[in-house]
Symmetry: C2
Subunit: 333 residues, 2 copies
Amino acid sequence: MSGRVTIRDLARAAGVSVSTASKALNDNGRMADETRARIKRIASEIGFRPNALARGLLSSRSFTVGLLTNDTYGRFTLPVMAGISEALVDHGVSVFLCAIEDDPALGKIHVDAMLDKQVDGIIATGKRVDRSLPVDLAGLPVPVVYAFTAGTPDSVTFTADDAQGAGLATAWLREIGRRRLAHVTGPEDFASVRERAFAFASEAGGNAPILYGVWSESWGHEAVARLWDDGGERPDGIFCGNDQIARGVIDALRERGVKVPGDVAVIGFDNWEILAQQTRPPLTTVDMNLKELGREAGLMVLSLAEGRTVEPGLRKLPCKLVVRQSCGGARYA
Amino acid sequence: MSGRVTIRDLARAAGVSVSTASKALNDNGRMADETRARIKRIASEIGFRPNALARGLLSSRSFTVGLLTNDTYGRFTLPVMAGISEALVDHGVSVFLCAIEDDPALGKIHVDAMLDKQVDGIIATGKRVDRSLPVDLAGLPVPVVYAFTAGTPDSVTFTADDAQGAGLATAWLREIGRRRLAHVTGPEDFASVRERAFAFASEAGGNAPILYGVWSESWGHEAVARLWDDGGERPDGIFCGNDQIARGVIDALRERGVKVPGDVAVIGFDNWEILAQQTRPPLTTVDMNLKELGREAGLMVLSLAEGRTVEPGLRKLPCKLVVRQSCGGARYA
DNA sequence: TCACTATGGGAAAAGGTTTTCTCATGTCGA
DNA sequence: TCGACATGAGAAAACCTTTTCCCATAGTGA
C-alpha cells in the first residue's frame, strides 16, 4: 500500500486472482473476452502500471540500455543519443547516458553500474572513429554495439562513410563548375582525415592541394594564408575537414576581400547546425547522419538482446550533403 | 545458470546459506569475522555482483534517476548532466537521459517509462529558465527537482543568478577602466534577459544603451552597426547577452577596424567553451556554473528520495567570470 | 547437572510480476 | 448416463536479494 498501485490491487478491484489479472493485461492465457476487457478497463481506471523491476527480474530483460561516451561537448554524442532514444522509446526502452571522459576507472564504474542494473545492452560512442573507449567491453554478458567509435574486430560497429561523404562534397564542387579544388583538414593521424583526403584526391585529381592541420577555426585562417600567399594557383573551391575549419576559412577569405561563394565555394563537414547556420554565408556541409546511425545502433543492440544473431563487422552508413549558401545557393531546394 | 553469477552461486561456493552470504556482504547480522572475510573474498573471486533489480524490488530504491530535457543542442543540458552524473555516480546512481523536445506526448511517454522503472527521482532541465517543460510533473510519486527550467512554486528549483552574473561582468568592465558601456542582448521576453539588463543598468548607469534582439551572431553584427552608425556616443565596453552575440559583435568590430580589446572590451555570457575559446580574441565571459548546478540538483533529488524533507523554493547559484583576452588579458591569471 | 545466555548460521518471507500447472464447471456426442 | 473435452480461472513457483525470526551449539554460573 506504498502509494503505488500493484497488480494485487488490480486483482482485488476486479474480483479476480492476480494471475488472471496478469494474463488479461498481457493477452495471455484463455479467458472470456468480457473478463479481459473489464480487467483492462479497471486497470487503466485505477492507473495500474506494472513495476518494470519485477518484470525485469523475471524476464531478465530490463528494457534499458547504456550509452557510454567520451565526447565531452556532446557534438557527436547528442545526435547519436537522439537517434537511439527515438528508435527505442517505441519499444519501451530507456537509455542510461554515461560520460566517462577518458578515465578508465570512471568507465569501469559506469559499466559495472550498468551491468548491476541488468541493462539489455551497451552502445559505445565517442568523438573519434579510430580510437576506442578507455574501457574493455569484450566478454561482457550483454551485447555491445559500437557507434562512431572503434570496436573490436568481432563486434558490430556503425560508422559514417567518410570516403563517400568526401566524394559527395568534392563531386558537388566540380558539378557547380569549380576546377581548382583544395582540401583543408585536420590531423593526418585521424583515420577519417585520411579517408576523406583519399576520396578527395580521387575525385579532384592528384595534384589538388591537401593541407593537414588541426580542428580549429584558426587553422582555417592559416590555411587560407598559405594557399593565397605561397604563390601557387589559388583555389576556387575548398572542401574543409569540419565546420570549424570551414568557418575559419570563410572568415579569412572575407578578410581578404574574396567573395564566398562568388570567388570561392566552401564546403564543411559535420553539419554542426548551430555553427553551420550561423556562418555567413550559411555553410554547405556534409552531414554524417549521426541520428540515423544512432537509430540503427539502437535497433541492433535490441535485436542482439532479443537473441538474434547478426554478422559482426563494420557497417558504413552513407553521408548526405546539406546545401546552404556557401556554395552558391541550394540547387535542389 | 544464465551466465550471471547469483548469490546462490556464492553461497554454494562458500559452503554457507544464501542468507549468511548476504549478511556477510552487507556487514549485517552476527558472524565470525573469519567467515565474513572468507565470503567476501570468494565473492570477488567469482565476480559476484548483486542484481540491482532484485535489490530494488525489495528496497523500493532503484538507484536510478531520470533527467528530462527539451534542450536539443544540449548546450545547457550537457554540463548539467555531467554535474548530476558526477555527483551521483559515487552513490551508485545512474541517470536516464530523456530528450523530449517540446512534445507533450513524448514527454508523457518518457515520464511513464521512468516511473515504470521506479526511478528514485526526476530532474527537469531545459534551455530557458522562465519556461517549463511541456509535461506536468506535479503529483508524481517520486521527488522532482527543477534545474535551469521553470518549476512549480512549491517545488525545489535551481537556477543561475543572472543578476549577479551580469553585475560581475559590468563591474569588471568598469574596473578595467571602461566608462561608456553598452549591453547587447536577446529578446526582452526572456526573464533572464530582463534580469541581466536590470543588473547592467544598475551598475553601468541608467543611460547606458541596452539593445534587445535575438540570440544570434548576426544580431551582434547589426547591433554594432546601430551603435556605430546612429551618431551617438560609441561604447568602449560591450556586455553581450550570450557568447554567440559576443562573437558577432567582435567580428563586426574587427570588420570596422575597431580593436578588441584595445578600443572596445567585450564580455559574453554562457562560457560555451567551444565557441568562446575559438573567438579571436578568446572571449571573456560569464559562466553559469551549470555543472555545479547539476551537482546540487542531483544531490538534492537524492536527499528527497531518501526521505529528507527540504524547504521548497528557488535557489540561485552564483555565476563566475571567466577572463580571457577579449577584455585585455587575464588580470588574475 | 541444569538453566541460561551468547554466538554463529540457517529457514523463510517479502517485494511485484509472469508463467506453468491444475482444477472446476459446463457442453457435447455416443 | 457416462466419458471426453473445451473453457475459464486460480494456485504456486520462479526471478534474486534482504531481513526477520528462529534454532542449534557451546560456554557460563549456580
